[in-house]
Symmetry: C2
Subunit: 243 residues, 2 copies
Amino acid sequence: MNKITSLTNSKIKELVKLKDKKYRDEKGMFLIEGEDIILEARKNNLLELILTSNENYKDDIEIIYVTDGIIEKLASTKTPQGLIGVCKIPTNSSNLTEKVIVLDGLQDPSNVGAIIRSAKAFGYNTLMLTNDTVDIYNEKLIRSSKGYSFSMNIIKNDIKALLSLLKKENYYIVTSALKDSKSLEDVQKNGKIAIIIGNEGRGVSQDSLSSADIIVKIDMSEEVESLNASVAAALLMYEINKK
Amino acid sequence: MNKITSLTNSKIKELVKLKDKKYRDEKGMFLIEGEDIILEARKNNLLELILTSNENYKDDIEIIYVTDGIIEKLASTKTPQGLIGVCKIPTNSSNLTEKVIVLDGLQDPSNVGAIIRSAKAFGYNTLMLTNDTVDIYNEKLIRSSKGYSFSMNIIKNDIKALLSLLKKENYYIVTSALKDSKSLEDVQKNGKIAIIIGNEGRGVSQDSLSSADIIVKIDMSEEVESLNASVAAALLMYEINKK
């Protein structure tokens, strides 16, 4: 059995770099940890390599045996369970499912992860993201999404291109804003639907507002200015599903 | 104008300790930052002292002028806007509003903050928390709650005591679980209601399950095991409000 024991080993140094988005984009690879998330990656054929400090570990995927110190160096959590997965970034999808969730400039990886988990739960299987949205291969995001992003169609582009694709394909576009907005009751769902979620601070972009077929507001106390983005996204998806 | 410039000043050293729960409990004080959150604390008469690095800052609350270095030391964000508030922890409330949200062992401060923000938005103005739930004066939690916890009735105790109070006051108790659960449609709301949200990993406690009048499950794809706790909480509150 070959075992890498040095943190300065060139292969390990290269893998550590995958903690940076720039290098992930360049190499088309990303790191994962945690059994559940590794399982999701495996199911979706993204898993290419396993690093483990457990010398009895067996797998039908390529394995590199390493020390606990190397696992810790590659991990983003304090208890990485002795296992790190290296995955390939899938290519941009061209599939559009009937229900699409669009992330317009979201920045908080935990929020985006929670939105992906809800999207999968509510059958929104296409995820569009603007180029200025947080990287979906961010470790914190993957953790919060429970790995459900791995089975979604992902389309990343600038907002104008995403909107124009949705328009061309006759999606009914829903977004939310505080001003000039209607009740959720007024959503007319019959067919393809896309819900746009805006940035945590500034909301959805002007382009999205202009392209929306309806802008809604979730009923709530006037004492509160807005909901958390992942909460708003889940409420919109759940409510519109009931129509 | 008196200005403290030394990080080793005894007053500053004492305030820095408020970053620890143990010391917050002992002193009955906590730290906040950010204009919006300071405003919420002020509205609720919790603000006792302001520390600022802005020498032109005026307030009707006691002010201590300090250096940027001291602000950074007290702050939990990288851009604390030159302003730190010191607040008193209010005493346990004995008020019970018609709608109550109960947190049974939640650990993630961002989740709990988002739940508080939703609770306020949906009129759940009493927050019960078990002793093993994350401290609600945790800075990350306050940030995520946008300071809305300051205007809630807060009752902290062990789960048995909280449940017995709800039972005595004839609350209809709703919680959610994957097994043996009914549809949200079956919730019979007419009068006082309490919703119990469980720990992110293990769900609600056995005591809560035994005391609930109804255990529900949110409709979703079988591919997903569970929703994020703050998402589930918001969906339950919003849906039950519509009844």
